[in-house]
């Protein structure tokens, strides 16, 4: 059963993520020395086994994804997957590395992976860290890892069989010359989903 967040709880979670994306955009902007605008994030809650169908229906044109994966541990605990379609990953990379002068011997593919890994680390850290902070929790992060999957492959599932839920956030980072869209999936188990619902309820309760 999907954890039943009501409209107000979902809105609060979306706003927390919005604040997290805002912090991430600020950090990316500091690195780039240019302004990074944000679109209104979209949020959806689904079961883990629904992700592949969801991706297929929302990103039909894509041939595959760069995935930055990082675990977070605390009361708010789970796995985060930042998905950047291949085309968007290239755009992100070009925003960061177009001004660099490459050594002829440099491995561009490796440089792209390392850049996306660092971008993913910033975005995940800012977003997950902000949600935890606003809900009065503190999370630790595992080092991020990077994988590439083709559009017809399914996302890897650790602890398969366990009931898991996905908080899906989509946003667009608007750089000076181009927009880059990506998905952030937070995959949590039933116990964390229950903790999250209670924590959001407490958060909202301060103002009611």
């Amino acid at each position: 059963m999907t954890p039943s967040l009501n409209e107000l709880e979902l809105d609060a979670l979306k706003e927390m993520m919005n604040i997290g994306f805002g912090r991430a955009a600020g950090e990316l902007s500091d690195i780039l020395g240019t302004q990074v605008a944000l679109a209104v994030p979209q949020i959806e809650v689904m079961r883990f086994d629904e992700i592949d169908k969801y991706l297929f229906s929302t990103m039909k044109e894509e041939t595959g994804y760069n995935v930055i994966r990082q675990f977070f541990i605390g009361n708010f605990e789970g796995r985060s997957l930042l998905l950047l379609p291949y085309s968007q990953g290239k755009l992100f990379f070009s925003c960061f590395c177009d001004s660099l002068e490459y050594d002829s011997g440099i491995d561009i593919d490796l440089l792209e992976k390392e850049t996306l890994l660092e971008i993913g680390n910033i975005i995940i850290g800012a977003c997950v860290g902000k949600i935890a902070e606003l809900l009065k929790d503190r999370v630790k992060f595992s080092p991020p890892s990077f994988i590439r999957i083709k559009a017809d492959q399914i996302l890897p599932d650790e602890n398969a069989g366990e009931e898991k839920f996905v908080l899906s956030f989509k946003t667009v980072f608007q750089f000076e010359h181009q927009n880059v869209s990506g998905y952030l999936f937070l995959i949590i188990d039933y116990g964390t989903a229950k903790w999250l619902k209670d924590a959001i309820s407490d958060f909202l309760g301060q103002y009611q």
């Binding site: 809105d11 609060a12 955009a25 103002y207």
Partner: protein
């Protein structure tokens, strides 16, 4: 007569927080869920203070701010945003915003703003 405070934000929860802060002070609370609705209510109610989100559907906070200041250059409009970038803040100030407030809203800060 009680002060009129207009809150423009697409988030229900942020509007709810700000509503409780405004009502605690005994002021009138007016709300709008996007920049377009915010602009319409701004023209209709002539609020004493407006607090405006930036990232909203239909019409962004920056567009709404520009139009509100065109309509009433003396209006006191504060921006509230999750965006921490200096350039964003400078742009809002250049369009006439009083200042920029950070999200999530803090009661004491909002009380300071609406008490002015």
């Amino acid at each position: 007569m009680s002060k009129k405070i207009l809150i423009v934000d697409d988030s229900i929860s942020i509007r709810l927080f700000l509503k409780s802060f405004v009502l605690e002070k005994g002021y009138s609370f007016i709300e709008a869920k996007d920049g377009q609705e915010g602009l319409e209510k701004f023209m209709e109610y002539d609020p004493d203070i407006t607090i405006l989100d930036l990232t909203m559907p239909v019409m962004t906070g920056m567009e709404a701010l520009e139009k509100m200041k065109e309509h009433n250059p003396e209006a006191k409009i504060w921006i509230m945003t999750a965006d921490t970038q200096k350039k964003t803040h400078e742009h809002a100030i250049s369009l006439g915003a009083e200042s920029v407030l950070k999200k999530p809203p803090v009661k004491e800060v909002i009380h300071c703003v609406i008490d002015q």
